[in-house]
């Protein structure tokens, strides 16, 4: 399947990665090569085969719904590029 420039632009947007317009054709052609390779999967008869959810057949573990941790505001914010007054600071989200 061939990926056009518009699709590459849309995927970059969905992935939240800025791609310059002049880089889109090369990206589209790389995607096409990779997806062309992936197309081989269409040769496999998967009728009636369950998609794998867990490689080990075990039930996902559960724990009691209780607070086990907390009171770590300083540690949580320690690596933030911008933290103010105990919060993560980001550009305006809502106009």
């Amino acid at each position: 399947m061939s990926i056009d420039i518009e699709t590459a632009r849309r995927v970059a947007k969905l992935a939240r990665i800025r791609v310059d317009a002049e880089a889109l054709p090369a990206l589209a052609s790389e995607f096409s090569a990779i997806l062309g390779f992936i197309e081989q999967l269409n040769e496999v008869d998967v009728e009636g085969v369950e998609p794998m959810t867990s490689v080990t057949p075990m039930r996902l573990k559960r724990r009691a719904d209780v607070v086990t941790d907390g009171e770590q505001q300083a540690a949580v914010l320690a690596n933030a590029p911008d933290a103010r007054e105990g919060f993560f600071a980001v550009p305006k989200v809502v106009e």
Partner: protein, 494 residues
Amino acid sequence: MTDTRKLTIATARDLLRKGEVTSAELTETYIKAIDAAGALNAFVHKTPEIARAQAAAADARLKAGDAPDMCGIPLGIKDLFATKGVPSQAASGILAGFKPEYESTVTSQLFADGAVMLGKLNMDEFAMGSANESSVYGPAVNPWRANDSDAALTPGGSSGGSAAAVAADLCLAATGTDTGGSIRQPAAFTGTTGIKPTYGRVSRWGIIAYASSLDQAGPMTKDVRDAAIMLKAMSGVDAKDSTSADIAVPDFEAALTGDIRGKTIGIPREYRIEGLSPEIQKLWDDGIAMLKDAGAKVVDISLPHTKYALPAYYVIAPAEASSNLARYDGVRFGHRAQLSAGDGINEMYEKTRAEGFGPEVQRRIMVGTYVLSAGFYDAYYNRARRVRTLVKRDFEMAFADGVDAILTPATPSSAFALGKESADPVEAYLNDVFTITVNLAGLPGVSLPAGQDSKGLPLGLQLIGKPWEEGELLNIAYSLERSVGFVAKPARWW
């Protein structure tokens, strides 16, 4: 006194317990060796102060007679493991400056046993790659060189720094992680031993995630015995990782009897891929002969879906990566791009991620985004997960037919020159063609050095085992290791 740089974990453990060497002495030797090996670019964050403090504590424990196997053993830690207060950035620009407030379960367990951390090791960015060339630190360099050549070779990836450090005797052993072959391929390229354990054997908590259903940590060591010792120390159920299995951890070292009489080894015909080099073919044939000589029965088997493992992987791994790496957005940790006046939060995300991620990581995130996007989810992602079920079933049928382990080459070639990784992504992905099935099926796989090619470079063989049977797998590897008698070391040039 013995050359402390030639020690294995097992020999160092014995000397430490007998008081013939101290961890402090060992640690100084390795700190010096690391400082003199900058040309290998294996250690990217050195931690000599931590190492000295841990060594002193280990010596005190040893003196008091409390000496777990790893007590006082100097290790290198792959940059993918979160280490408290020490840079942990998965070789990515987007995690520049990140110092975790927590310790990964694997390193916690190793340190609780008294192990010593010399520093953080180079790798491919977010463990994506097979040549260590996608690292923000620049590539690690293989200590091995081809005969009569000064060309820098790749140590493989993504645990390339780990493999280079162990091969060059810059540490006694190192941690690695393996999502599609990232322990076994670099082990093969550097003449070292690496095991990817059964999925769920080792906690993934605190290991920066690439593809969660495939990632598994393991040891990279100088020989099979050390792999057994260190794997035991790394293993075990962890409440912080819901996919870690609540299964007893056996004494893997005790399983190393070297007796493999009566074992059945499968040789999968689908791994005789077109264009397999005669040298790799001969290595494989020699390995088969050695296992027969040791009393094993060798049978041909078929794993019919092998061909589809690589394309399935390149749907599933990017899909999971696109989800896992969504958290790197410039808000909570790491890099945030400079914003222009009027930029909102979307511009912040897009600029941060464009600046912070290298090209291979961006490519995989976007491929993953595409295969998960509306309209393609079933055609790509669900189909790949169905094919994954079939890949696993192939192995289950082979084991049900009485096969105890499977022997294959570890890589399609010996280490190649840095800068020679194919610019064609699909061709570059072929490096993992022999290893990737094992991750899809969640099985344990070990790579051990089994010979050298005409250029004098090491080549590895891979043994694949039954789930949770790492002990038996390592015992077969141990038998093969003794038959091979691989003792070559890279000539020191760095």
